[in-house]
Symmetry: C2
Subunit: 591 residues, 2 copies
């Protein structure tokens, strides 16, 4: 046995983001990547970059021509180690924290030569999406992605710190579990040891966290990797991370209090925002009626107003055949040009939004009104709509009509679009909202049965229990969604902790007792052995980080994301496996 020997190399004494004027005169060693290099007559300036920043290196032809020549031979993204003396810069760069100093280099060592990168590694890059996904490790060198991943790290640490302090235990639940057909589609894993059998990857740790509650672990959390094999839409990933939590001996209010506290803590520590008020709450019904969505962005008003009563039955066929007519008031929009209004009509007619057309009413400064349906309605009608929608002189009323649910959706999208155009969705403003009193069930027309709006373990509101038998569609769930700036950050519920009620729920959802037993038997069994009242929540971590980072796409907050077809473009996964692997799994493919 022996003890530590000396180091043979020392790659760096400092990183590229920490030297300041106070360090002038010190001898230092830095390592990093060549960001860029400039030759100015007898001098060569090189920006050396690492995770922490950029430091300027300087080489002087007069002092050491050979060394200066070495520096001139360096290319972008080469990795070097340099030794030198910290000097005050004559030409300071106020945009860099290290901009007061530079390193007068005495020795340079090439650690790793770089080929020419396929796109520029700068704040703004010239690389397209596909190319940047293929060379993700190069894209990750860019400042914007680096900032995102550091934010993600910071938020993960703070979330754990808060929950640990609140007495939560971080407990890992299994990744190889049993497939359950309820909900989205599972990814499955063929078992080699148990022929024709599969594990599934978890869509969430839902059942396991309920078992932990039954096991007596009254406060659980986990940053859990979850999986869903869905047809991919923009900005959805087959694997994603959830801040998954559960508590025992709680009601809805207890869970909401703890996680409202978590969001406030994150706003404080990450954003420096002191949000002291309680988060407002809105029922699902109110949200749908006023905002046309169950995840309203309440950074701005512009609520939807129901004009069905006022506008239907006056001979305008479009309105007369509509199940619902609704409008939003655009403040100061009376001056919108024909062209601007046409653009908005095109916007609502896009297939993703699906409105048939748009009616407008301008409330002009002189008290007159002007509308695309002047022919069908007189001024007093239009004024009455305006009154209903709370318009003032100078405002614009935009009206959509049709089948109720679709029209509310289109109005919601139009409202967000107008919010963007009028800059009412301010960056750096965070408007959290709890949405509550969701329906417990929704009718699945295709399968002619009810399905759970959240999941089959969600408890009904206690006061609605009597309705469960005869009016299940009227029963509200003891559930809550957390929405921030129009983004659904997470949701949760109080769970059913009673075997009998859980059985009734599964039967309502169309499970025969045999199906229920075969799929959820171990949970139903567990409920028999003293299950405490419990409830929880799951927050979408990728989305939460993207929201805090001000980004549009969660992909920019994941180190190695998949593309929209679920492919890892860099590693080229999924891919074919060997015949030997297939044989071991007893598998073949259907033609």
């Amino acid at each position: 046995m022996y003890f530590c020997q000396n180091f043979s190399v020392m790659y760096r004494t400092h990183n590229c983001g920490e030297l300041r004027l106070d360090d002038a005169g010190e001898k230092v060693t830095l390592s990093g990547w060549i960001q860029r290099s400039r030759d100015l007559g007898g001098m060569t300036f090189v920006d050396l970059r690492d995770r922490y920043g950029i430091t300027q290196l300087v080489f002087n032809m007069d002092q050491d021509a050979a060394l200066c020549q070495e520096a001139r031979n360096l290319g972008r993204e080469d990795v070097v180690r340099v030794e030198g003396i910290v000097r005050e810069r004559s030409n300071k760069n106020k945009n860099l924290v290290t901009g007061d100093i530079e390193i007068e280099v005495q020795k340079i060592e090439l650690l790793s030569k770089s080929a020419l990168p396929p796109f520029t590694i700068e704040e703004e890059t010239d690389g397209g999406d596909e190319l940047r996904m293929k060379y993700r490790y190069l894209d990750l060198r860019r400042e914007p992605l680096k900032k995102n991943l550091i934010l993600r790290h910071r938020m993960a640490q703070e979330i754990r710190k808060y929950l640990d302090k609140e007495g939560f235990l971080e407990i890992e639940t299994p990744a190889l579990i049993r497939s359950t057909p309820e909900g989205a589609r599972d990814f499955v894993v063929p078992s080699r040891l148990h022929k024709a059998q599969f594990y599934a990857l978890p869509q969430s740790p839902q059942i396991f966290k309920q078992l932990l509650m039954i096991g007596g672990y009254d406060k659980y959390f986990q940053l859990a990797k979850c999986f869903r094999d869905e047809d991919l839409r923009a900005d959805r990933q087959p694997e994603f991370t959830q801040v998954d939590c559960e508590m025992s001996f709680v009601e809805k209010e207890d869970v909401m209090r703890v996680f409202e506290g978590l969001i406030k803590y994150l706003l404080e520590t990450i954003q420096g925002i002191h949000y002291k008020d309680e988060f407002p709450r809105m029922t699902y019904g109110e949200a749908m009626e006023k905002y046309g969505t169950d995840k309203p962005d309440i950074r701005f008003g512009m609520e939807i107003h129901d004009l069905t009563g006022e506008a239907r039955g006056r001979g305008f066929r479009v309105f007369d055949t509509a199940g619902f007519i609704g409008g939003i008031c655009v403040p100061g929009g009376a001056g919108y040009s024909r062209k601007q209004l046409d653009q908005l009509t095109d916007f609502v007619r896009r297939p993703q939004i699906g409105a048939g057309g748009m009616v407008y009413v301008k409330f002009l400064g002189d008290g007159s009104v002007k509308s695309s349906v002047d022919k069908f309605f007189d001024a007093s009608d239009l004024m009455m709509w305006g009154e209903r929608a709370g318009t003032c002189k100078g405002d614009l009323l935009l009206i959509l009509s049709g089948e109720k649910q679709g029209t509310l959706f289109a109005l919601s999208e139009l409202r967000l679009e107008m919010g963007n155009r009028l800059d009412m969705r301010k960056e750096g403003v965070f408007a959290p909202l709890w949405v509550v009193d969701f329906p417990l069930l929704e009718w699945n027309e295709e399968e002619k049965r009810y399905q759970a709006m959240h999941h089959p373990f969600t408890s009904p509101l206690p006061e609605d229990l009597p309705l469960l038998k005869d009016h299940p569609e009227k029963v509200r769930a003891n559930a809550y969604d957390l929405v921030i700036n129009g983004v659904e950050i997470g949701g949760g519920s109080v769970r059913i902790h009673d075997t009998e009620l859980q059985g009734r729920m599964l039967s309502l959802l169309g499970f025969t007792p045999e199906q229920a037993a075969s799929q959820f038997g171990f949970l139903l069994e567990a409920l028999r052995f003293g299950a405490p009242p419990h409830g929880g929540i799951a927050l979408g971590f990728d989305r939460l980080v993207a929201l805090f980072g001000g980004g549009e796409s969660i992909r920019d907050y994941i180190a190695f994301p998949k593309n929209n077809a679920g492919r890892d473009m860099m590693a080229d996964a999924p891919n074919f496996i060997s015949q030997k692997q297939l044989n071991e799994l007893h598998l073949r493919f259907r033609e």
Copy 2:
């Protein structure tokens, strides 16, 4: 919109572990499980349990007969909520932190009735392994498992705290990756969208963490879930958790310093042990020679001594045909009985150990020697062996012989067994050790090729590079294993950061350039774009926690483990999936 309403129930004002004498007179609400109940004439005493402890409830027949009767109807594991007044106990229980008080109950509410549990939920249980796995949620209620999971939580938090403070970023790498046939067997996940293609679940984030280094994230860590589809041995799980780390611009010493620091930090914060010395180091060669294993338990000596030179060629056939003869000295063992020696012979002959037999020499107090090979060797021979092995009067020399590697292994097992018998492997003592200078390659006789002892990305020791061409078997790896108390806690290495050397390595391992490109192409490509020198380590988190907890099996430190056949006994996974699921994946089974 509205704001928070009042709570309708309050399940508890305190938990079952926090009330003390100072709280006497206070009105409290508790919730928990009935641990046990005793009727003593007019009084009923009930132990109420939750995650935090046990509090005694008391009911008095004279004061409230109906309430007392309710209490008597409660069964084990029923969940209740009680209101009452904290009183000083007349008969204090010093074994409970709440033992000075009891709750004089005024109101009791049954929250959840429990069926009779299939085994007793006590410190020691009567449930067999299978039964406890099936009802894992009940087993998790037992104090020993609860302590283990709380320890795991605590260690995870402290590990992150330490690494965060050291500037590491926690970055999640993907779980759905590309299958690579090198190493253990992958679990694979059939893709629905890409027919006949598969993702693999990661055996470790090795390649991704190297790509993060190339991406400039110079200190990375993750508590990563990893997967290996191996034939299961006792105490091996198909999914396990790794503390996975990587650093750039480092040498071996830098990595060892940081992670030696981590272990010291954990010993300090979790065990209250201040380990101030440097961790000792041992070469692989020395470890094999002196301890017969690359993970020696150095809590005690009893090293192996090579007696081949002294004992071979004297006409004792067993020794004369042996490639290696080695012995260990058992201090004070000269008094071992025939029966004890037979037991040890049986021990080394077990198929898992595989020795043919055992020779002993007793060094008696009167200076004489007594041996099972008295017939073949005279006293001076035996004395010479004793001298070689450092025996004293009263000691026992145990000798095994045979093919070298197998004999060293058997001696290592015998040494550990003697350490146990002599209580030299003290609980609560932690003896860390770095094992270094492993061979880079080992010869795979079956496939007639070299394979990497660690993995194909491990760098050779710089000073051994010249040997790579002509004597690859002599090249040592720039690698290090961390061993504590004979348990391999983790290992790591400095990686190859040079495309050319990585190519040579893969070719040495028998990869054609095409195979190398098809399997590791994206890593080889990435190395071309300025890879910094880097290295890292991975610690087995399950094992580390088990070591700190003093447990034998990692299963006791995992909330929901699989059994030895890779099954989740509770959820009964893996299991069959529906024909619809199979069809969507284009899969069928071979007969």
